[in-house]
């Protein structure tokens, strides 16, 4: 099957053609946002990070920024730095430049402050906008597509209806040679014994189980019952009782037809030479997870929600699917598809899975999701350390 996308210099294909403004640190976030607002098609990443971070935590933040810049949905990148922060703009820009796409960086301290940096940044972005607007969509094979699997604001309908349905859609993509990414390690606690059998090597099984164990140990170290945080008050009000019940519903997103090809760290890229089903270590928190998946190369995310949630991503379309027909009608401006008809109208998981797959094709070819239409450009970056 063929899709229409934007061919990038490194041979990858994007399904969107964004200009991305990356603030290298929290100190450059406001300036970067003002630059992005001044040019059509440009998006900036709001975040609180990039300075006074150490070790693996620092590396994870850098990897997330760099892989957002490298993402095939991004046609050109401007990195905006204050100048003195831990994450240096030139280093981020140089790593993104290996893709061959246009990348520049500007430094607030070197440009004489906010207004002059905004003016200079706007000039650069205007030039980039003109350049990337000339790229036309062209045909590419669906096997290049990478799909993120996410759930948030879950209720029991997620495990019964919407998660099995996106699992089916994912199986359809995988059967055509594409890739999918399951994540949210918190929401594996209680279901890991079922998922672990779907990894091929002992090394992968061990790595996967360690991810789950480390996550549970971090929660236990806080000295509280995880319940109330996971599941959340909204999950519980919806009818989910424990993290085990939540996880056993969440795992249906992984479909049933394929084993995992690999188990990767947060924001680590999916390999174009090893396509298939991936597991990525992310928190259960939605924005942290979606950001990790998209940094990993997901072109779009299918996102199930029982309670209803509006969130999107700055550079990747997010398709919202609910298993709860009441939520679908209540938040119709935010939810793209209703899998609740599996419960209310006797539709099958296979039928709704096909409907979701068809929507994935349309969105890949340019149809906007409701999160895109409403400008939901949320960005959340998972941290594994502290600021110092």
């Amino acid at each position: 099957m063929k899709l229409m996308g934007y061919k990038r210099q490194d041979g990858s294909f994007g399904i969107r053609n964004h200009i991305l403004v990356i603030p290298a640190s929290v100190c450059a976030v406001e300036t970067a946002a003002k630059i992005a607002k001044s040019v059509q098609g440009a998006v900036s990443l709001p975040h609180q990070h990039g300075c006074c971070q150490v070790g693996a935590d620092f590396e994870q933040t850098v990897r997330t920024f760099v892989n957002f810049g490298k993402h095939p949905n991004v046609g050109a990148v401007l990195v905006v730095g204050l100048g003195c922060e831990g994450i240096q703009s030139k280093s981020v820009a140089d790593q993104i430049a290996t893709t061959g796409k246009p990348v520049e960086y500007i430094i607030i301290q070197e440009n004489g402050g906010t207004p002059k940096t905004i003016a200079r940044g706007t000039e650069i972005l205007s030039r980039m906008a003109l350049e990337i607007s000339k790229i036309q969509r062209e045909e590419f094979d669906i096997s290049e597509l990478v799909l993120g699997l996410e759930c948030g604001g879950s209720d029991p309908t997620s495990g019964i209806a919407s998660n099995p349905a996106i699992g089916k859609a994912s199986d359809m993509l995988l059967s055509l040679g594409g890739s999918s990414v399951l994540s949210e390690t918190t929401e594996v606690i209680g279901a890991e014994h079922l998922l672990v059998d779907r990894f091929k090597t002992e090394e992968q099984k061990k790595k996967f189980l360690k991810m789950v164990d480390d996550t549970e140990k971090r929660a236990i170290a806080m000295g509280e019952d995880l319940r109330g945080t996971q599941p959340t008050p909204g999950n519980i009000a919806g009818g989910i009782t424990t993290i085990e019940e939540k996880s056993l519903g969440c795992m249906h997103k992984a479909g049933t037809a394929f084993d995992f090809v690999d188990c990767i760290d947060y924001a680590e890229q999916v390999s174009r030479d090893n396509k298939g089903l991936y597991y990525m270590d992310t928190p259960g928190q939605d924005m942290d997870s979606v950001t990790g998946e998209v940094a990993g190369g997901c072109h779009m995310v299918v996102f199930t929600t029982g309670r209803g949630t509006p969130t999107g991503c700055a550079i990747a379309p997010v398709i919202k699917i609910t298993g709860n027909s009441t939520t679908y009608h209540n938040m119709i401006d935010n939810i793209d598809l209703n899998a609740g008809k599996i419960i209310t109208d006797g539709a099958t998981v296979d039928e709704v899975g096909q409907e979701i797959f068809d929507e994935i094709i349309k969105v890949a070819n340019g149809k906007l999701t409701k999160a895109e239409i409403l400008g939901h450009n949320e960005f959340g970056l998972a941290r594994i350390g502290f600021d110092f």
Partner: protein
């Protein structure tokens, strides 16, 4: 639309696909149950007498432990089931 969903054979709780009223009678796999209290839509009802400290099963898997005896027909949720995982408080 069915009133309830039993996901796996050995589950001792079912999911209510609509709110169930106290006193209502429902049939699950040929057996009659009297609903003992109001249960909200998509929440769970016990279909066996679950003893305190024994496991609660949904999806054919352990979803937690009963903190009280839960009789069949009773509402089964956070007030009488606790998690076995992520318990930094224990």
């Amino acid at each position: 639309m069915n009133a309830i969903l039993k996901v796996s054979d050995n589950d001792n709780v079912i999911t209510c696909l609509r709110a169930l009223a106290k006193g209502e009678e429902i049939v699950i796999e040929g057996k009659n149950y009297v609903v003992k209290e109001h249960i909200p839509q998509f929440h769970k009802m016990a279909i066996a007498n679950i003893k305190k400290d024994s496991y609660v099963y949904k999806y054919g898997q352990v979803i937690g432990t009963a903190t009280n005896d839960i009789d069949e027909g009773e509402y089964a949720h956070a007030h009488n089931i606790e998690s076995t995982r992520g318990r930094g408080d224990k």
